[in-house]
Symmetry: C2
Subunit: 136 residues, 2 copies
DNA sequence: ATATTGACTTGGACCAAGTCCATTGTAGGA
DNA sequence: TCCTACAATGGACTTGGTCCAAGTCAATAT
C-alpha cells in the first residue's frame, strides 16, 4: 500500500505529515473518495489538517499522474489512486458504489474516423452504470 | 426544431411562456448548454424568467426523457436535447467544444461478465477527449 | 548542530453551481 | 369568467471548490 509513498519520495516530492496522511488515506484498490472524505479520514489521524491542504495535495497528486480525478456524477469529484493502470468505472445507481473495471478491446478504436469531426482523439473515459448485487 | 414542443404538448405538459422559451433554447443538434447558459438565452427572450424556473424546467425535461443531463467535466452539468438517439460525446480539451458521436458496436458488450462484479449493468456513458481541428 | 529559505500549510473569505421554500401568479378546464 | 391546482418567483441556503496573505517548517548548506 505504501508503494505510492515510495514512488513519491523517489520522485523528490517533499514529504510532510499532511501529504503523507493524504497519500495513506488514498492507498488501496477500488478507492474512490471525494475530497471531503479524504479530509475526514486525514483529519482522523491529523486533526489540524486544513481543507485547502487536502485540495492542494490532491491537485498535485493528479498533476504528478499518481492519482486520477474522476467525475462519476455531477457532484463532488472522486480521487482514484489506481492511476498507473488504465481502467474504467462501474457505478451502482442505487448506493453509488464504484468498482474499477477493464473492458475488452480499446474503446478508442470504436470511434470511426467519420465520427471524429477532425479531432485528434487522445483518451476515452467510460462509465458503466447499473445496480450492484445488493441493490438489484 | 419545434418537434420537442410538439411532443411535450402531446404528452399533456402544461405549457407556459417560461417552459416554452427553455424548450426553444434547447432545440437543435450538438447543443450542450449549461443551466446558466440556458438561463442567459432564455432571459434574452423573456427577461423576468427566474433561475429556479430554469432549473425546475430542465429537471422536468430530464425526468420526461426529452433531454439528457451530461456531466462532461467536473463543473456545471450540460443539457442535451438529442436524447431520443443514443450517442456519446467527443469533447475538445482546448476549447470545451462538444460533438455528439456514435461509436461502432455496443460499448456495453465490451464489459465481460468477469468484470461485472455481480452488477446488473444497464447503461454506459462514453466521453472521448482530444483536440479539435482549431485547437490542435 | 544551526541558520536559512523557499516551499508548504493555515483559516477564512470568497465563488460557482445548484436546491429549497413561502409567496404570488396563471393556464386551462368547468 | 371564475377557480384552482400547478407553475414561477426570488432570496436564502447548501455544497463543492478556489484564493490569498500570513505563518510554519523540511531540507539544504554551512
Amino acid at each position: 500500500m505504501s508503494d505510492l509513498l515510495e514512488r513519491l519520495r523517489g520522485r523528490g516530492w517533499r514529504m510532510t505529515p499532511q501529504r503523507r496522511v493524504v497519500a495513506e488515506v488514498l492507498a488501496g484498490e477500488h478507492v474512490h473518495l471525494t475530497a471531503d472524505e479524504v479530509l475526514a479520514r486525514a483529519a482522523a489521524r491529523l486533526p489540524e489538517i486544513a481543507r485547502a491542504t487536502v485540495y492542494n495535495t490532491l491537485g498535485e497528486l493528479v498533476a504528478l499522474g499518481e492519482v486520477a480525478e474522476v467525475a462519476i456524477d455531477g457532484r463532488a469529484k472522486r480521487y482514484d489512486p489506481n492511476a498507473h493502470r488504465p481502467h474504467q468505472h462501474l457505478v451502482c445507481s442505487g448506493c453509488a458504489a464504484v468498482r474499477d473495471v477493464r473492458p475488452d478491446g480499446d474503446p478508442l478504436a470504436d470511434l470511426p474516423a467519420a465520427e471524429r469531426f477532425g479531432f485528434t482523439v487522445l483518451e476515452v473515459e467510460v462509465t458503466y452504470r447499473g445496480l450492484c448485487a445488493d441493490c438489484a
